[in-house]
Symmetry: C2
Subunit: 371 residues, 2 copies
Amino acid sequence: MSEPVVVEVGLGTRAYEILIGPGLLERAGAEIVKRLPGARAAIVTDENVAAAQLQRLKDGLAEAGIEPAVIVLPPGEKTKNFEALQEVVDGVLAARLERGDAVIALGGGVIGDLAGFAAGIARRGMNFVQAPTSLLAQVDSSVGGKTGINSPRGKNLVGVFHQPKLVLADTVALDTLPLREFRAGYAEMAKYGLIDRPDFFAWLEKNWQEVFSGGPARIEAIAQSCRAKADVVARDEFEQGDRALLNLGHTFGHALEAAVGYDGARLVHGEGVAIGMALAHRFSTRMNLASSDDAARVEAHLKAVGLPWRMADIPSDLPDAEGLLSFIAQDKKVKRGALTFILTHGIGKCFIAKDVPASEVLSFLKENLPA
Amino acid sequence: MSEPVVVEVGLGTRAYEILIGPGLLERAGAEIVKRLPGARAAIVTDENVAAAQLQRLKDGLAEAGIEPAVIVLPPGEKTKNFEALQEVVDGVLAARLERGDAVIALGGGVIGDLAGFAAGIARRGMNFVQAPTSLLAQVDSSVGGKTGINSPRGKNLVGVFHQPKLVLADTVALDTLPLREFRAGYAEMAKYGLIDRPDFFAWLEKNWQEVFSGGPARIEAIAQSCRAKADVVARDEFEQGDRALLNLGHTFGHALEAAVGYDGARLVHGEGVAIGMALAHRFSTRMNLASSDDAARVEAHLKAVGLPWRMADIPSDLPDAEGLLSFIAQDKKVKRGALTFILTHGIGKCFIAKDVPASEVLSFLKENLPA
């Protein structure tokens, strides 16, 4: 295979590399042994990914003499709960893995978040390797060390910061993704352009079809996204400041996901983010922060690639504006009661707005909810 | 009240103070507000401690205008499990506490470990305050940031490193401790002398009766213990090296606790550590590392203060030597299959022994198990 693209995440003693390219699962053993000589391993995956990718990873590990324990979970967002966490931790301990051994997450964001959390708490922290198989996981959730599960009170409210030692983003795995899931990951790619890389957003507007069809443009877009995320994470690992910019679209998006009860048939995470980004731009227009041309440009691009971009695109009923606002207020990006949003002065000009009046949000939601 | 003794834990951006003295619960609000202005709070405690100390802490918080949420759990080691962890996390989220608010552990080691773990994972890490009410918690578990729960596969196998922002060791709380529990905490005090402070061990041999009866000698002994622990933690926060010295007596001790099913009626943690320390010294003698006079001195002191010091002191049956060894091998202080013990060249001369042959341990256990 050709050499993968390498993106460094500069975190001092916790620095690591993201490798991006086709065929990385087949060489997983060699890449792991290079960084963690002598380590044993447990793979955490879900039933769907296991069917498509598990044998490739096992073969890749076997070449380096690693015979992993394997923990297979049901697919879907509902697996991000305390019971599954306990099951993974117990599986890792049952395999008698030690701190220096590796927990490998093979799957999308759900598996990465859950397995990373388990690796962060089993024996108070074990080595962790991400092998993301969805676009969303490759460009977002596998990078940066945020791990966690959902609570009945909200999404990702429980977790730890636990950086991986290595990320293996095998682009072959993307070839079997359903189009809807690819699109959901694409929303997070577009997000990096909208936050602070206007040139990348413009590039996506021109090249999105090639990104969708595969080949060099796709690898380039994944690498650009990982670089964008790595830059933010290196500046602010524990989300004391700038890292919150990555939440563009997420405050509205999380509230919408909670409102549909995390029902992936109605709304998956990346779709919530897409609608949330469009709403954040439209809300910025309403607050006289940005021109409505920019909001329209965001909406048009999301629509062009086939992503939902307004609340009316979510099948069936949503709560009313007050109901949505209470989901927003429970979101963890709240500080002493003030509502924090990522708003924008235009494409690539996002900023953290810490004192957004709830009354303005409420009026905005009322105007934008479908009748 | 008189000014408390202050011990600094030097951890850079995570540095904090341990305050030691009578009446600290009554001034908890003032001390917390000084460090976390504007913070709201949740108290985590158990039924026994709540009856004796909760009102004192609530009054102390009320003076600073803090009205805490209160989460009360059943007392005992069995509470250190996933279900109780989930209950505490949910209670904290239900109170709508944010990252900058404080989870306060009011109780012994079980409550501190559990509440600290919950604080470490709720919203990916909230502020945490320790208000230890047992001697063991004041001299050991409340200092240094180790948090966790037990697994059916072993003690403290699941957890995180999460440093408190403040430790309030109110010595008034010790006056209502049962003697057996005070003794258990004393074992951890003696441990610091045995590890690398021979003068402190000699001081305890002379002054232990005053430490037990209360007054200045007790506060001095607690402060010396906290200083000893803080020194080790500052050198090695994440247990990559020296911190393992604090496990003196714990490898044998954990195995014995597991062997009795964590039944506190038969063996509490500090008692396990006492027997474990005596065994570690006696095993060091058997390995020709230390003189048997030193082992005898340790045994004599533990016996003098009324602590168990040999396996025969545990009521009712234990597993056989093979059974105990398998509990030892599952203990987390294992690296790539080799057994790691804290052994000693004499009083105050402990070291980390990484390649202890299992066969030697097995023979030693056979010789020392009661017939």
